[in-house]
């Protein structure tokens, strides 16, 4: 097995008719993901390379039984698109869109938590890839093969870098999950690591954090109490000065909180080994799981 997306995934894409939406949606389809529907208001009846387009997520779900949903609409419409997918009964929503106002996400997050029916991944994330099974998002799938390492990260290209270092040492992945770099994201490290703990295919979890917030610290406590599988960590941003946002809206050291050093220390204090650079992460993985090549 893998987590979140598999062979049985039937994907509906909000924003499929847009430039980015159609490019990545069709990429996902070529990879083998079942892309069963697109949603663009006013374009029902059209199709994108054979994928039918509907006016509403409700109609798409009713006709195709789609689940999960991927959001590829511009930031000012994205919060609404997530709410629509959740209202249509979709259980997993992956939101790729970058730049959604934080106040919008506060309301979405609180609503989804309260209704407790829909899991959100992202926003501002590269999506979810289960190699050999399904790709939902923008992760370049050709670097990755099926395997036993679960990878969860707040960042896109850094995930590819670390994934590639692992691949060069012969490791594949059960699932790669980008949870996103915004201050309010739908799923946390804890949520995803909890799923990897339950997943039979996953034997090692690599978590890749960065400066800002205190999620890595809370994850360290969670791992110590609840996770039996080995976890290897990486934290980006040791050289980040306080008060400056480092590219991701959520990546900022404010005062003494959110520093990379504090996060790495918190993880190490709970027995999680932390690689000092992407290469070292892969080396630690080799030590834990044994060399493959």
């Amino acid at each position: 097995m893998s987590i979140l997306v598999t062979e049985s995934t039937r994907l509906v894409i909000s924003g499929l008719t847009g430039r980015e939406g159609s490019f990545h949606g069709l990429n996902n389809k070529r990879y083998g993901t079942q892309v069963v529907a697109g949603v663009t208001p006013g374009k029902a009846g059209q199709d994108v390379d054979g994928i039918p387009v509907f006016n509403t997520v409700h109609a798409a779900v009713e006709v195709t039984g789609a689940n999960p949903s991927m959001i590829f609409v511009p930031p000012r419409f994205a919060a609404d698109a997530i709410m629509e997918a959740a209202d249509a009964g979709v259980e997993l929503v992956v939101c790729i869109t970058e730049g959604i106002p934080a106040q919008d996400m506060l309301r979405v997050y609180t609503h989804l938590k309260r209704t407790d029916r829909t899991r959100l991944i992202g926003p501002n994330c590269p999506g979810v890839l289960s190699p050999g099974k399904a790709n939902v998002g923008i992760i370049p799938a050709h670097f990755f093969s099926e395997g036993n390492v679960g990878l969860v990260s707040r960042s896109g290209t850094l995930t590819y870098q670390i994934g590639n270092e692992l691949a060069q040492r012969g490791f594949g992945n059960s699932t790669i999950v980008g949870i996103g770099g915004d201050p309010v994201v739908g799923s946390s490290f804890i949520d995803i690591i909890g799923l990897f703990e339950q997943d039979e295919q996953t034997e090692l979890v690599v978590m890749c954090g960065e400066i800002g917030g205190d999620e890595e610290e809370r994850t360290a406590d969670y791992i110590a109490a609840n996770v039996s599988k080995p976890v290897v960590g990486y934290i980006a941003g040791f050289t980040a000065p306080p008060g400056k946002t480092m590219g991701h809206a959520g990546a900022i050291v404010s005062g003494s909180s959110g520093t990379a050093a504090a996060k790495a220390e918190a993880l190490e204090a709970k027995g999680v080994r932390v690689g000092r650079n992407p290469t070292e992460v892969a080396e630690v993985a080799v030590e834990v799981l044994g060399a493959k090549v």
């Binding site: 997050y109 960042s155 590639n164």
Partner: protein
């Protein structure tokens, strides 16, 4: 985006948060005119987005025209902890009976707004926590329900403020919450929150941080400028749509994706170098973005070597290589470059660089080797 005090107070006025009457001024003459219009005594305040203005001499009381002129002259151009004062705020002097602290903050951990109130105003949050951890009353507010009257009452009673102002302080907190939501703020802080001799409650200071992602729906805040804070390189990068943060080292850095760039800075530091900047050329970096990025990096005179660290996903390494070749045609490059291309179309990218035979460009295969090389060249 951090706003200056006078900008925050413009937002406060818009939402009926009581503030003393004041005027913005960017010259001594404007300041004197503002003071006469407002009536003496007035307070002349440096407009810089940093704490400790008062201690640095950036806030002065003026009883008459002569004092207003002297203070405005002294404060304009003054250095406050590394920032040059370019603007003033002239405000009617207030008569102070009590100083409280009030704030609405974005609590990332709980993913909820948090309202805070303390009777110990005038000092910063850390100082209050150190002096008396119980002096700060805090409550989460449900973002789907909003700030209720009881939130204000609970905070007021728990903070132990004067009983006769419990109602007006509660109403002040409710209005600040309104500012927080309506203006898409990440922080609204009032320190001090003032009770005057006639028991009026007014916001004497305003520290507001707004969400850059929401500026599209706030034309007025999007137009705010902070001339003392903007570094010339950062301004140039912003105009070109690049994510750039200036640092104080000499190794110029470009990468694609925020996490990878942060990681690149760390690896350069581990190799003994000092990064000059953070620059994320973004996903899908096209050739013209690369040209702009090289210009921004090289506009910093401290840069003695540059590292390009690209892991191609959506970004194609051949596009980046072409951009770099174009940049070398358009810009006179005097410092060595180290380029690491990996991922999508990396071989083609490396071939383009080899064919172009650019002077002073070293190509490395791994991130660690590239970092070691650029540090060696930067010395």
């Amino acid at each position: 985006m951090d706003l200056l005090e006078y900008q925050g107070k413009l937002l406060f006025k818009k939402h009926d948060v009581p503030v003393p009457d004041g005027r913005h001024a960017s010259s001594v003459q404007e300041a004197v005119e503002a003071a006469e219009e407002l009536g003496f005594p007035v307070v002349i305040k440096a407009q810089v987005q940093i704490g400790g203005r008062g201690k640095a001499g950036g806030i002065k009381l003026a009883k008459d025209r002569r004092e207003a002129e002297a203070h405005a002259e002294a404060i304009l151009g003054m250095d406050v902890r590394g920032l040059t004062v370019r603007e003033l705020y002239v405000e009617q002097a207030s008569d102070i009976a009590e100083e409280y602290y009030a704030a609405i903050v974005f609590d990332r951990g709980a993913k909820m707004p948090m309202a805070m109130l303390s009777r110990m105003g005038g000092m910063d949050v850390e100082e209050i926590a150190e002096t008396d951890p119980n002096a700060m009353a805090k409550l989460h507010v449900d973002p789907l329900v909003g700030f209720q009257d009881f939130h204000g009452r609970r905070l007021a009673f728990e903070a132990g403020i004067a009983e006769d102002v419990i109602r007006p302080v509660g109403s002040m907190l409710s209005r600040l919450y309104h500012v927080f939501v309506e203006e898409d703020a990440m922080l609204v802080e009032v320190n001090p929150l003032l009770v005057t001799g006639s028991r009026d409650v007014v916001a004497l200071d305003a520290k507001v941080t707004v969400d850059g992602n929401a500026l599209y729906r706030h034309e007025d805040t999007a137009a705010f400028r902070n001339p003392s804070a903007e570094d010339p390189q950062e301004q140039m990068a912003k105009e070109r749509g690049l994510t750039y943060v200036k640092l104080d080292g000499n190794v110029g850095i470009l990468g694609n994706g925020a996490g990878l760039v942060m990681s690149t800075l760390d690896v350069v530091a581990q190799a003994g170098g000092r990064p000059a900047n953070f620059l994320d050329a973004g996903g899908g970096s096209k050739a013209d973005a690369i040209v702009s990025a090289v210009e921004v990096i090289l506009s910093d005179p401290k840069v003695t070597a540059v590292l390009f660290n690209i892991f191609g996903g959506i970004t194609r390494c051949d596009e980046v290589a072409r951009g770099l070749v174009t940049a070398f045609e358009q810009i006179e490059v005097k410092v060595p470059f180290v380029v690491r291309l990996d991922g999508t179309n990396d071989e083609e990218g490396r071939r383009i660089l080899a064919d172009a035979n650019l002077p002073n460009v070293t190509v490395e295969k791994t991130m660690l080797a590239a970092a070691a090389k650029v540090v060696e060249l930067a010395e």
